[in-house]
Amino acid sequence: MEEKELLPHLFRTEYSKITAVLCKLLGFEHLDIAEDIASETFLSASELWGLKGLPENPAAWLYTVAKNKAKNHLKHRAVFQQKVSVQLSQAATSELPELDLSARNIKDSQLQMMFAVCHPAISLESQIGLALRVLCGFGIEEIADAFLTSKDTINKRLLRAKERLREENIAIAFPATGEIPNRLEAVLRTLYLLFNEGYFSASHDHSLRKDLCLEAMRLTFLLTEYEATNTPAVNALIALMSFQASRFEARTDASGDTILYDDQDTGLWDNDLVQQGEYFLNLASKGTVASKYHYEAGIAYWHTIKADTPEKWENILQLYNLLLTVEYSPVAALNRTYALSRANGKEAALQEAKKLSLNDHYQYHLLLGELYAGVDNRAARSSLEKAMALSHSAADKKIITQKIQQLTETD
C-alpha cells in the first residue's frame, strides 16, 4: 500500500478498535475522551511518520501511543480525583489499568460497543450515525454525505445520542443471557439499515457507499464469532448482504447513475460474494424460526440468477408473501405486486395493486406504469407522469423519463 494511502486506511481500521477498547476501559460517559485519545494518536502518527518515515509495524506503533496517552489521561484523572475527592481510597488509584489492545479484547470491546450503540434508548438514525462514527471510524463529513445532510445536523445528532446513552447509564457490556434475543434484534436492525444506507443511498460517492456496505458486513461477521450471537438470523443477514453486494459494481454507471437490474452487465456481478451468500444461507437454515432476513436473503438469492423462469418468480412471490406476513413495508408490498405480475400475470397484479393505497409514493405509480404497459398504454403513460411529479431525486426522474420514452417507442 502507498504511504499516503496507509494512514487513512489505518484510520478506518484502527480508530474504531482503539476507541472501543478505550471506551470500555474508561466507561461510556467518557466516550468523548476515548475519541479524543484515538484522534490524538492519529495526529501524532501523521506528524511523526511524515518526518521520520513509517515505523516497522504501524498498527503496533499506534497501539503503543494510544496506551501511553491513555495512561497519561488516567494518571491526570487519578490526581484530579484525589484532590477533589478525599474519600477516594489510595488503593483504587495507585494501580493504573493497562490498556489491553490484544486481538481478543479488541473484538470483545467492539462487540460490546455494538450492543451499547444499538441500544433501543436512542433513535434508529442516531444509532446508525453513532455506529458509523464509533464502530466504523467514519468522519463526520462522510456520515453527512451518506445521509445527504449537513455536518452540523450530524454533529448535533451524535451529541444528543451520546447524552442519551450517558443519561441512561448504558454499560459497554455483553447483555445478560435473557436479554440477548431482544438486544440482538435491535443490533441486526441497525446493521441492516447501515447496509441499506450504503446500498440505496442517493450519494454519488461510490467508494464511500461501498465502504458503508463492507463495514456493515464486517460488524455482522463479528457477531458470528460468538456462540450466543451466532444465530440463524445473523447468518441470514450476512447472506442477504452478500447477495446484494454481489451486484454492487454492476448497479451504477461511470457517472454514478443507477443501472436497473434488467440492464445490468452480469459479468460485473461478483461470484465470490454470491457463493459466500449461499454458504451463509445454508448456515441460516439451521433452526426452526425464519426471520425477515431469511425471506429477504431468499429473495436476494433468486435475484442472483439472471434467467427468468416461472420457478424464479413463483419463489420470489412466495417469499414476499411470507415476508409481508412477518413485517409490512410499502417497498415489500410494491415488490410483491411486481413479483405477482411475473408469476400470475399483469391482470391479477393490477387488481391487487389497486388495493394498496400507496398513492403518495412515486414508486407506486412507477409500478402501475410497469403493469399497464402493453395492457393499457395510455394508463401506463399517465401513471408514469404521476410518478415523475412525485419523485424528488434527479436519478429517479432520469429513470422515469427513460420509461416514458420506451413506452412512446413501442406505441
Partner: protein, 113 residues
C-alpha cells in the same frame, strides 16, 4: 382500525385425498391471498391451521370427540385481520380460497377485554 377474526369452515374430509399437485396449488392460493391482505397492511396475525382431531367437554362429565358428529363442516383455521368496519372485513374475505372449495369465512369483530 379494528381487529377481526376470520374463521375458516369447510368440509375437510376430502382434503386428505388431494394429490400433491392439488395440495401445492392450494397452498399457493392461500399464500397469494394472505400475501395480498398483508400487502395492504391489513394482516394483524397470520393465524394458524387447526388439527381436525378435537374434543368437546360438556356438563356431567360428557366428553365427545369433536363437535362435528352431525355436521360435516369443521373449523380449519383462523386469521386476524385489520379493517375499519365489518363491511370492509367482509370485502377482504372475498377471494378467500376456501370459498372455491364450498367452505365459508365467518367474520367476528374482536372486542378487547
Amino acid at each position: 382500525m379494528k381487529n377481526f377474526l376470520f374463521l375458516y369452515r369447510s368440509d375437510f374430509s376430502s382434503a386428505a385425498q388431494r394429490s400433491p399437485e392439488e395440495m401445492q396449488n392450494n397452498t399457493k392460493m392461500w399464500m397469494d391471498w394472505i400475501g395480498g391482505i398483508a400487502a395492504q397492511n391489513k394482516l394483524a396475525d397470520r393465524g394458524n391451521r387447526l388439527e381436525q382431531a378435537g374434543k368437546v367437554v360438556r356438563p356431567n362429565n360428557v366428553v365427545t370427540d369433536g363437535p362435528f358428529t352431525e355436521i360435516k363442516e369443521t373449523l380449519g383455521g383462523y386469521t386476524v385481520i385489520q379493517a375499519s368496519s365489518l363491511e370492509e372485513a367482509a370485502e377482504l374475505a372475498q377471494g378467500c380460497p376456501i370459498l372455491a372449495f364450498g367452505g365459508n369465512v365467518e367474520i367476528r369483530e374482536i372486542s378487547v377485554l
